[in-house]
Subunit: 443 residues, 2 copies
Amino acid sequence: MNKDIFVKLLQERRYKSVKDVLDVMNAVDIASLLGEFDDKELALAFRLIPKEKAADVFANMESSLQSVLVEALSEKELKEILNDLYMDDTVDLLEELPANLVTRILDASGPKERETINKLLNYPEDSAGSIMTTEYVDLKPYLTVGQALAHIKKTGIHKETIYTCYVIQQRKLLGIVSAKDLMTTDDNVLIEDIMETEIISVSTLTDKEDVAHQLRKYDLLALPVLDTDGLLVGIVTFDDAMDVMVEEATEDITKMAAVSPSEKTYFEVSAWEHAKRRIPWLLVLMFSSIITGTIITRYEDAFAAIPLLVSFIPMLMDTGGNCGSQSSTLIIRGIALNQVTFHDFFRVIWKEFRVSLIVGVVLAVSNGLRIYLTYQRAGMAVVIALSLVATVISAKLLGCILPMCAKKIGLDPALMASPLITTIVDASSIIIYFFIATKVFHL
Amino acid sequence: MNKDIFVKLLQERRYKSVKDVLDVMNAVDIASLLGEFDDKELALAFRLIPKEKAADVFANMESSLQSVLVEALSEKELKEILNDLYMDDTVDLLEELPANLVTRILDASGPKERETINKLLNYPEDSAGSIMTTEYVDLKPYLTVGQALAHIKKTGIHKETIYTCYVIQQRKLLGIVSAKDLMTTDDNVLIEDIMETEIISVSTLTDKEDVAHQLRKYDLLALPVLDTDGLLVGIVTFDDAMDVMVEEATEDITKMAAVSPSEKTYFEVSAWEHAKRRIPWLLVLMFSSIITGTIITRYEDAFAAIPLLVSFIPMLMDTGGNCGSQSSTLIIRGIALNQVTFHDFFRVIWKEFRVSLIVGVVLAVSNGLRIYLTYQRAGMAVVIALSLVATVISAKLLGCILPMCAKKIGLDPALMASPLITTIVDASSIIIYFFIATKVFHL
């Protein structure tokens, strides 16, 4: 649906047609269409969305647009939407809203919802508690499949998922029954006879990244969240897990490029904010790289005697940096996907050592040959070849050791990526290079 | 479950206990436990897995272990497993197996399955067709909800998902009914009256990454796959989409570090293979960075006159590289998530220009001041400050332009990441630096 056509229909007050269009459109697409409207058009268009779709559209809008609507809508309209919103979407909304609008929402919620919201808001950011929903289907063990299906028919419509049902007695989670089991089992079988009692669950404080990993590992639609007493307090559904996985990958990628991550998209972040997220890292790295410069000046005599030495500095530094980044990136990603742990420390080092030997020799031979053929200087070829081998080995070892150590001491391994590795490897490659050069040329 | 205990039980032939343990364990956990066994133990242990769980365990095993089992199991055992495997898992298996074992699998499959398998194997890698399954629940529009539920009870058990049902007439997809709709609607309502006719679908040739994006965008459990005639040929389920998203992120991250991506994990790839995936990029980058070295030698006289000039080279090169990587990484990720497109070309450039002005000035002032205070040389401070501003701006512009252009001409934007950007920016920052230095110092 093209925005211009839509705005035209609105301006010409052809509300019936607008309604018809909104009626056949998907809620997600309506939400992204509304994203292109100005504030006044937005409230007008939103009111034309069919009632049963409004909450779904609202949940899919960007937080800045949600704010505009919360401000523009009447209390009655707001109540209707909140009624249809799932608990986790309401909490997401509140986390992004300015304080005065938060009050509006809480006022429009019933006392019971308010209590749940406050509890959910108190879970630490990035925890399972902060992304879970409290709306799930609960069954009793003594029900028959037929009774359970009747119960779901009556109560299921307002639950975020009805495909995983939780068998509960005194809030304790006894087992799990899938809708598939219910739909393919005879009506008079007891729930306790078909429920799965080997339950995979997380606690309210489990990191949301781990929650996503569990969901993916076991191909689950939802994962129960237990409190510290082992009682069921909510569930995390697969769609939230998908979002978490994409967000976490984005966060890692961003950090690996020395940028403080943001949950907003590129264009949502202002130029000032972009600068703020990049400058601290650049300053640290810039001042660190001065060390390399200082090391170079110590060898002033060497490159005064053989000026050609200077011309290989960028090549050595870049190659070292690239080799280190390759290793650190593979290890950082391996750690993020639980494929590499600190237990593998020596296994990783041994592997990277063998890889770096192969890589080092190939680079050394090809570049050594090139230098010999270009300059006819065997000494220089040997210096570069030896420096390359040593640089590649040290860069790759640093590249794999640093992320694993970071993880071990509780730092984010993603910080040990290309920029930092490059800066450290720069210094070491210069030292290696001039050490070998002064030995070979007796400087 | 600890592997050692398990092996002990096996060796002491306490098969009853082993069976009991396997009975309560989750299929995914059994699969990863089996991963630690040697080939003989593996076949022995696998035979003790409860029949109804065996296929699920098999589908979750690494492909190297699957090969071992396909070789070790009897034709009858193999048939049983293949019978319970979903079509997409069978195809995954075949794609990884050596040719002689592929024949074993095809021999053990029925003629109808063989036909389906061959069709699925022919879809291009990375297409929706290659990851879809052909087992879904199909309903007729004229059925009542009660009849539909009875149909599912009879046929649903062997379908990969029964939660999204497809309403079909003459293989044409008319609409979609969710299990939730079926479970919460009266039994005598007609399917055609409750089916959703605004269908989100993909074609067999759609890139699997786009499929995953669609599933995530619309929070769907499954997505129908249509052939070129618009007929339904299969579905892609959310669990496959999750895997695709994680794989694609890994692929991007790996490419961004100048490593050819692999679908295997870090440890599954041999040292030789690791080296092979890294060397080509390193060679290209190494020989490219020689250009920078050559540029430096052109200014031999300049740094002979003022040796201090050389010591700032690493700092300028690193800062330029880091600035360029920051921009390129954010744009590459934005493109991958469909948040940035080529249409935003000038919007991105304008944003990065403003960001780089702020960043450049901050870096220039802080480093200029430091140099002035350290060396008491105003001229040098000015040269470095000006060089920094110019380097930061050119690096950030290059960093955002290259990935967008790559996307436009059909290259993978992830190739325009840190390593390549760094190499290009190195040369440009050196040129900027010496240009400014020769002007200021009249060299």
